[in-house]
Amino acid sequence: MSNSHDHKPGFFARWFFSTNHKDIGTLYLIFGILSGLIGGYLSFMMRLELMEPGFQVFDNPHTFNMYVSMHGLLMIFFLVMPALIGGFGNWFVPLMIGAPDMAFPRLNNLSFWLLPTALICLLISMFIPGNPSGDGFAGSWVMYPPLSTSGHSGPAFDFVIIGLLAAGFSSIFGAINFITTIFNMRAPGMTMHKMPLFAWSVLVTAWLLLLALPVLAAALFMLFFDRNAGTGFFDAAKGGDPEMFQHLFWFFGHPEVYIMVLPAFGIISHIISTFSRKPIFGYLGMAYAMVSIGVVGFIVWAHHMYTVGMDVDLKAYFLAATLIIAVPTGIKIFSWLATMWGGSLSFSIPMQWALAFIFLFVVGGVTGVALANAGYDAAVHDTYFVVAHFHYVLSMGAVFGIFAGFTYWFGKMSGYLYNKYLAAAHFWFFFIGVNLVFFPQHFLGMQGMPRRYVDYPAEFAFYNKISTLGAMVTLVGVLFFLLWLAEAFIVKRKAADNYWGEGANTLEWTLPSPPPFHQFNTLPRIK
């Protein structure tokens, strides 16, 4: 390919007006890491507060609640989604399907730049009045009215709404871009049924985003009008219904949890296959398991609302529907194991993350099945059991997926290899740390400790202490992450085109590391 095609724009034009899918992917990843560090700081402060009974760090419970709320929003909207979808999706969907770029490069630029705007709105909200109790929005990431309307009279929550709307539109534009790219820009011969599973996972995710986020946006607009325009959508005194918000929120919220984990599923499949030196087992089953998770994901939302006072028959329906989700989830787990069966396994860093992902996801999955039981849920809803459940599937599922992908593709993206020992230290500290943080929380939840509590009866002290110690171990893991990242860029060990060898056989491995600024000027042909 001719060099004139590969000239890069100047720094400012390259990174600020970027329309190149790889550069935008890089921006998303850097952005995700930064927001992850802020969100991680918030959670670390929370764990310090909870290390012992009594007030340790926070004088004002409102501020603690605000940290809880911002932690959730930052990790979901500004770490997991940007890293998995914006970062890896942008980088590798075009490469894997043999496309020169995304379908709408300028829309792609808009998608990214909406995010820092959104993040700034959320960060500002933390420092302006939330309600008479203190600064910032402290109504949790679920934002239920009336706490988020009459309960937060200050401007902070308006900033949160605007920020989330910006982030939401960013995702909707991104989803449109991915769907169009995947449907129209696959290289000749790459039929849907030959498409790599990561591209499948992003396709399903994009559909979920496209169908779920407008509902969140509508709910946010309604909150905004209830707060500022005198409407009463969610105000019982005006004939509205606060529970209507919960239905709208969770109609978005349940698909959202799969939005966060499906791309990780895709990444894990590639890694398992690469390091087993074997194609993925039951490829079609894997693809359609993701499709069915996506579809069923839209009809189970009220399992988050078993205690709101729903009709019992309705609960019975949501119970049954929720249990069904475990079936395609099981198919994925078994197919990964079957891929490894008969393989020739090597345990490189990404494979360690992937294997840990499978284990942690199974633990989070079985507690999900427990929570699905509406009658049982009365005992554990809004306790630390739920916190343990969703951190096993998220902060360990989705985040392990992110680290798996990052360590798998780091050389491809940067052109450099990382130090194996530093990366292994990162993995082990992180793995042991998060298990120490979250496993004891199952016990706290069973014993009845409610979530979002700044102080707790001394009877919950023991496992809270373990949990905080776990957070410290995790922090060491994070430091090792930053260390290997810095080391790799300082030492600059050159990465080969395909540094994982014959097991890695998707199209990105046919290109140099890093790939040229524009790739596939002649489209590859897939047999």
Binding site: G54, I280, Q447, G448
Partner: protein, 308 residues
């Protein structure tokens, strides 16, 4: 039950496997217990069912699945490591296998759904009640009333026994719970700090109590773990749940608000005093008064509690 720190540490490590022996051992203690890994002791039929469902269905299934997958994974990691198996097989399909691992989970889940549905309908459908009480969530306390005895007992507010938040830190040093408990002294009267209130809900034992739950402002949730109940308090709507404390279980039980409701969400506990039927009659006849052992208290200056 209480474990020594060492036992508790190892308990953590092997908890997943030893659940059956340690987690669900009977003890007579009420309220949460440090180091325990299972539910609090059940005192109602509903919580009995939840505990049974947990012990006989969920825990075996959960541990079974995790153990099977983990063992399988470790086996695969050893048997098919590159050294032991340098040439990977090319098998990527096995229809029989795929059908089996779809159907087996379906069967397990269908089996699970049966007791789960039974539990749901048992817990959710309120039987003919012997007493109706109403709990209303305020920011940040609970207000109880007895619609059956409106002419005898006025509604009253039940607030946490606590010192104001701004006194919980002296010269930048945070007070420990022990120090706060010492300050509260007789007001707390040996009851657990952060769970005790100045005026408990009083109900008779061995009686089906229907609880009507609503809220005056934000959403709260009325929950008592040992009763197996948790139901949201939503403004503009009256939710209901029920419990029946088993005969011989007269005691004080505790719960905590279980839906984030603002700054003092962690400071609006639920205290339920379960008394004999005769005692309850006396209490009603006396106009539902509390002896002075329950002091009034204020928290963050947000409310003035009045124990009738």
């Amino acid at each position: 039950m209480r474990f020594s720190p060492l036992v508790r540490m190892s308990g953590l490590a092997v908890a997943a496997l030893s659940v059956a022996t340690t987690a669900f051992a009977e003890s007579n203690k009420n309220g949460p217990t440090d180091g325990d890994i299972g539910f609090q002791r059940s005192v109602t039929p509903v919580m009995d069912s939840i505990t049974g469902f947990n012990n006989y269905w969920l825990v075996p299934i959960m541990i079974g699945i995790v153990v099977i997958v983990t063992v399988l994974m470790v086996y695969i990691m050893i048997r098919f490591r590159a050294k032991a198996n340098p040439e990977p097989s090319k098998v990527t399909h096995n229809t029989m296998l795929e059908v089996v691992w779809t159907l087996v989970p379906v069967i397990i889940l269908m089996a699970l759904a049966v007791p789960s549905m039974k539990l749901l309908y048992f817990a959710d459908v309120v039987p003919e009640a012997g007493l109706v009480i109403k709990a209303t969530g305020n920011t940040w306390n609970w207000e109880y009333s007895y619609p059956d005895y409106e002419d005898k007992v006025d509604s009253y507010i039940s607030s946490i026994v606590d010192i104001p938040h701004d006194e919980k830190r002296v010269n930048g040093e945070a007070l420990t719970h022990d120090q706060i408990i010492a300050k509260l002294g007789a007001d707390l009267g040996g009851r657990p700090y952060l769970l005790a209130t100045d005026a408990p809900l009083v109900v008779p034992v061995d009686t089906i109590v229907k609880v009507l739950v609503t809220s005056n402002n934000n959403i709260h949730a009325f929950a008592v773990p040992q009763f197996g109940i948790k139901i949201d308090a939503v403004p503009g709507r009256i939710n209901e749940t029920w419990f029946k404390v088993k005969a011989g279980e007269e005691a004080t039980y505790y719960g905590q608000c279980s839906e984030i409701c603002g700054v003092n969400h962690a400071f609006m506990p639920i205290e339920v005093q379960v008394v004999s039927k005769a005692e309850f009659k006396r209490w009603i006849a006396n106009g539902g008064s509390f002896t002075t052992q329950y002091s009034q208290n204020t928290i963050g200056g947000t409310q003035t509690a009045t124990a009738q």
